[in-house]
Symmetry: C2
Subunit: 377 residues, 2 copies
């Protein structure tokens, strides 16, 4: 591990302003806040006077009035919904002839194709996708820290100049994120797999519950909660994201449909005794191939998932109990690697699953028991 | 809330032994451990001499030798895989003529139908499904606390005697769980919705990652991690569970397939400009109906999800930082309602999302900032 701190944006900015931000929603205003905290000059514009005023108010930069002189920015950040990203980016490339222009839309191939069709100056264009967000939208939810520790995908077109790519990389690094380089098609295929398809399958899982009997919902456990957390996302924003990456997502969903079809056939086979064996092989294959995929998701710090000892302890639902648990663990110098809390319907206790470095679980369990906690072996 | 403690099994057992347990895997051995901790006499049998020896060794009860006299149990718990549950239960009803017999298979209609076909004495039969488990299988993973705070579904057949139903309810309560009453069809439909279909859709999501480029996996965030956690489940055990509930699961999966088909059509529509509007409406509807379903999942303590204030704070990845965070919160008397830790690939910081009672978030955030923590607004 290098000595460089990565838990905070660098104290000095590599980015030379002024930076102009078009679109002051959550992402645009967060970029502005982050750059302003480093002393970079930031100007803002947005078709919504309210969004613009809020962004200026929270300190994301100075709002450009209608009659303001052109700000002559070095970099323009276009942070608008994906369905208008190409149009606004093309206009910005036209308007600011000396600037590098980057858009932050979460789909990249359609934006690039539209810019090419408009014969935009692609030497100064760099596609971006900061992999960050939160449940709330709008500038009021913005944060200078939004991008800290997250990947920032940089999509250079073949025409993009090296200087433009480096300028956007510096901006991403200034905001605390780490760059990932992909071409537009690879980016769109990647986010289809790791973001868009999971969103759709979470929504489809949750949609079945809309009309389910309450008695069924009372049996819900942690698995269902995990599977449906992202189903609460904003429908309109997500419709625009999904539509902008239609071909890549539809390709993956056709594979999902083929597997789903296999599962349905196997489940129907299973009913007849003679074909049960074949059904079991099919279903077991299907679960196993999911296991192989899940095992490839990088763990903390990237790379292969690390192995932890997990100690499970009951936490009575009384004020301060969870705080007391962590206070005691702090006194013992325990370094938590991960932590999950579980509680289901009707429970008056919670269960804390505490992950520590492999080999340290036994000592932690012994300490907890000595301190009167109920450890589940 | 009643004054009765629910965070531990009752100190005295209502169950009058001896209890005989057939099948000493995770569930059977956990039932034995829980009952033994209350002083109930427990005998054990299992076709695997190893599993039986481990269960006896950890204190789940005494192993019945091949030539041992019949134990004359009051209750027999059949804890065997779902595909042999009916056969073993029928044999137990035959062998122990005075006993109430309950099986704990996670599917209930096929077991009841097979028992009826075998003309078993259903007056003494009660179907059970304790909604508890863990990733590891086998008696070595057993725990006296496995059922604490979890629902225990009781499925009485029309023929079941009231006394038999009460005996199983008492056993479930002795083990710290709370009873839920459903008939076999309602139970199977419920677990299809809240457990079996989510398992399949998690596996299908994860299966797409098995051949994905590593660069795509590096963009994985918390959403994908949540969606694929249960995809690591045991393929053979799950194949048996799914096959035993085939019709109910296939019914739900056909609804999923219809929605998936709609999504694919909409995503293909979206590519053509003229039909984009219709695509957006379809996709937005789909996400919205998932949101309605997710909102119905009961939160902590059952009932509608409570609203919390969520405070997000950066936790540098240095030993003891998470412990220090909780130690300080403990000193301020903060009562955590929920907690989630997030960290993605390449991150050297974690993000703790701390849920406290609605209205208490602002004070917590102020305290954290005064103590030098970086709070994300």
């Amino acid at each position: 591990m290098s000595g460089r701190r990565r838990d905070a944006p660098a104290p000095h900015a590599a980015t030379v302003g002024p930076v102009h931000i078009i679109g002051t929603g959550l992402i645009g205003a967060s970029v502005g806040l982050g750059l302003r905290s480093l002393g970079v000059d930031v100007s803002l514009e947005d078709p919504s006077p309210t969004a613009l005023a809020v962004a200026e108010q929270i300190g994301a930069g100075r709002a450009l009035g209608a009659k303001a002189p052109a700000p002559a920015p070095t970099i323009v950040v276009v942070a608008v919904p994906p369905d208008v990203a190409a149009e606004v980016t093309a206009a910005a490339l036209d308007r600011f002839r000396q600037a590098t222009v980057t858009d932050v839309a979460s789909v990249k191939a359609v934006v690039l194709a539209e810019l090419r069709a408009k014969e935009a100056d692609l030497a100064r264009y760099v596609g971006s996708h900061p992999m960050a967000g939160k449940e709330q939208a709008g500038p009021a939810a913005a944060s200078a820290d939004l991008f800290v520790g997250r990947p920032w995908v940089i999509v250079a077109a073949p025409e993009t100049s090296p200087a433009a790519g480096l300028a956007v990389r510096a901006l991403a690094a200034d905001l605390g994120s780490h760059p990932a380089y992909l071409d537009a098609a690879a980016h769109d295929a990647a986010v289809a797999l790791v973001s868009h398809v999971p969103q759709i399958l979470s929504s489809l899982t949750a949609a079945r519950l809309a009309e389910a009997p309450a008695a069924a919902l009372d049996l819900a456990g942690q698995g269902l909660r995990d599977m449906t957390r992202i189903a609460r996302s904003d429908p309109n924003l997500w419709a625009a994201i999904l539509a902008g990456n239609g071909p890549a997502i539809a390709g993956v969903l056709r594979e999902v449909r083929a597997d789903l079809e296999r599962a349905i056939v196997a489940l129907e086979l299973g009913v007849a005794g003679a074909t049960l064996g074949r059904a079991l092989v099919e279903l077991s294959d299907l679960i196993a191939s999911g296991g192989r995929g899940a095992a490839r998701i990088p763990g903390k710090h990237g790379g292969a998932p690390r192995s932890f000892d997990v100690v499970r302890v009951l936490v009575p639902d009384r004020p301060g109990e969870l705080g007391r648990l962590f206070q005691e663990m702090g006194q013992w110098g325990v370094n938590l690697e991960d932590l999950a809390l579980e509680h289901g319907a009707g429970q008056l206790v919670g269960l804390a699953a505490i992950a520590v470095a492999s080999g340290e679980g036994r000592a932690l369990a012994a300490n907890l028991e000595r301190a009167g906690w109920r450890v589940l072996v």
